[in-house]
Amino acid sequence: MANLLLQDPFSVLKEYPERLTQTFDTPLHTCCVQFSPGGDYLAMGCSNGAVIIYDMDTGKPITMLGNKGGGHVRSIQSIQWSQNGRYILTGARDWFVKMWDLQKAWEPAKEFKFHSPIWTCNWSPGKELGCVVTVYEEDHAFAVDFSLENPTATKICGSTERMNKSEAESEENVKTLDYGYTLVACVHPKRPDILITGTSKGWIKLYRLSDDLVELVHTYRFAHSNAKHMIISQSGDRLAINSADRTIRQYLLTMNDDLTEISFILEYRYQDVINRLQWNCIHFSNNSAEYLVASTHGSSAHDLYLWETSTGTLVRVLEGTDEELLDIDWDFHSMCIASNGLETGNVYIWSITIPPKWSALAPDFEEVEENIEYREKEDEFDQIGQLAHQQELDQAEEVKIDLRSMEKFDVRGNEIDVNRFIIPIEFESILMLKSWHNENE
């Protein structure tokens, strides 16, 4: 945004946050966090099923999803904002996946109930209001269609895959593999028809989804333990899997257009070689994912680790908290990282701090790094004719100016979407609070 144009470019263009700048001391215990697409809001899923939205401008909560009914009643497992910032998808341990329309955030717009707790839910970009859900003890992920009046869930199961294991056992001549339960899923950002899932037995499965056909086009075994998280870069060519064997594996994912050649090339493995800690959560930086950030499991570690993905080296440890950190989200617009603490449920924000530029207070001043010996320039005190000066000013007024068209990208390369959804202010809650204050005075 325009403030970035007026600040020190070296500070602005730093690629990752450096310092803990804010702590949200939330009344409820936060389990997962996600920024809205423009970084305006932060959604926090809580252990009692509440989802609270914080306004990043004011640092205060502005709404609670379902405050007129229909909220979750068990801990939130997964939160996702839609691209335009108007809808939120939540999955919880109370077996529900709910879709919220922030225009009417007081009750869920649509919901679907599974028969066991939800692991993850993701929007599928290929389909309007469609999403992919992974559910406890299910072999396959589900596609839920929220565009319908009564949402439906269909198993995402390749036409060549067996529907269930018992069937496979009975037909011994059909060679099938037990991939385990599907735990995580992500949709390819550049190819909305491609869904990648990770299973409890260490398999990555790559599906191609079309309107009436689901194909399992590729499988790859990354380890012999279950996948905890799987992330894919915005560019779609980098994939990272956090698995229960205490390792984060970073792959280069290449595929041709008709998906006949797909390869996962292991680039780096990130492990804590000393303490052998598990990783709680992982997150990529924007565009081609030059950085990877992870939180560590266990009470001894309180930091986030940040690696450069091109070299696999640790470049930064984000410190400042004194408890174990769980979920991570990264807002690329204001370059900040949010993570929630395990014990207190507070949310911590790391960001870039740009020092004030005092020279900005006077119009003709310039800040210099160190003292420069003054030497008069050749033309410094030359008298420019009144006429020449006026001509220069006049010329400046001849140049065409554009007062209409908007900037498309900010200086960090993020898309600026002026139509990003704005959550309506809840006047009713202001009035309620006021009357509550009056009564208690």
Binding site: D40, I401, L403, M406, V418
Partner: protein
């Protein structure tokens, strides 16, 4: 060529009433709100009075600002306070903190922040949900009389002060990012020319500035250069801070129009690109200074000190 056509007179001038300084079109383009002593009068654009809302201000109002959802109106008063009034339910918040009359108000496009500036030389940023003060920016040495925030970019805030400086602030940190000032030859004999109003272009790349002498300039504020100058006639008295605004017509190929009110009751319109005068409205407002100009879509609302408020539409003959 399109011109302003008078749609109607919302309010007639009345003798011996308090000065009128503000009338604003609502963001949804359906209403006009103006101040009458300590009350807010709301008209619909068809010209009918809709409602008169009382505020609990104790002194007259100097400015008002609609919230972006057109549901609330914030009012700035000489009693040092700002009150946010919900059109349907009444008062929501009273913002106390300024130590001198409040001069102007501006909501961010998200409606979550309200900025106010005051004769106490400070700018304050308030949280509209809780009614609490978030931060105070003190960076002028004279009363701050105008503030603006770009429509789609609330990361910056510009302010104009009687100290003759235009500053750009970072709304999130409160740091001053840039200072614009006219060259030294712009100083009149009595010192600097006070700034009377600042207004961002819709895309947030340029800043239209009016000084108390009635001259308007468009700044490329990132580069710190004046790119357009509009002069109707010099105001010698330096008494009234007359209104101005950009008018963005629906046709996206056309450049916006700069609309400005003068001390003697005229409204002058220029093409922002060519600087050509496209219209000069005379014979309305009875020689009373046009204190506020508010544009939304093709509609324009003007109010003069004597209380006459007119509604105009930009349309082809």
């Amino acid at each position: 060529m399109a011109q302003f056509q008078l749609l109607g007179c919302l309010k007639q001038a009345r003798e011996s009433t308090v000065p009128h300084t503000t009338a604003k079109l609502s963001p949804d383009g359906q209403h006009v709100a103006l101040c009458e002593e300590t009350d807010i009068e709301i008209y619909n654009v068809k010209g009918q009075t809709e409602v008169s809302l009382s505020t609990l201000h104790s002194r007259p109002l100097s400015d008002l600002c609609w919230s972006p959802d057109s549901q609330c109106i914030a009012t700035a008063s000489d009693d040092f306070t700002v009150i946010i009034t919900h059109v349907k339910y009444g008062e929501l918040h009273r913002l106390v903190g300024h130590t001198a009359p409040v001069t102007a108000l501006k909501y961010t496009s998200k409606g979550n922040l309200l900025c106010s500036c005051s004769m106490d030389e400070s700018i304050k940023i308030w949280d509209t949900l809780t009614g609490t003060l978030l931060r105070t920016l003190s960076a002028h040495s004279e009363p701050v009389v105008s503030i603006d925030i770009p429509l789609f970019d609330s990361s910056i805030l510009s302010s104009g002060s009687y100290d003759g400086l235009i500053r750009i602030f970072d709304t999130a940190t409160g740091h001053c990012l840039k200072t614009l000032t006219y060259d030294k030859d712009w100083q009149s004999e009595n010192g600097v020319v006070p700034i009377s109003q600042v207004k961002f272009s819709q895309n947030g790349k340029f800043l239209l500035v009016k000084s108390l002498d009635g001259i308007l300039k468009i700044w490329d504020f990132v580069r710190g250069k004046v790119v357009r100058t509009f002069v109707s006639e010099q105001s010698k008295s330096l008494r009234y801070s007359c209104g101005m605004d950009f008018l963005y017509s629906a046709d996206e190929t056309l450049d916006p129009i700069v609309v400005s009110g003068t001390e003697n009751g005229e409204i002058v319109c220029w093409d922002s690109q060519t600087k050509r005068t496209v219209q000069r409205i005379q014979g309305k407002h009875a020689d009373s200074p046009v204190m506020d100009i508010s544009c939304n879509g093709s509609l324009m609302c003007s109010i003069s000190l004597n209380g006459e408020c007119n509604l105009w539409k930009w349309s082809a003959n």
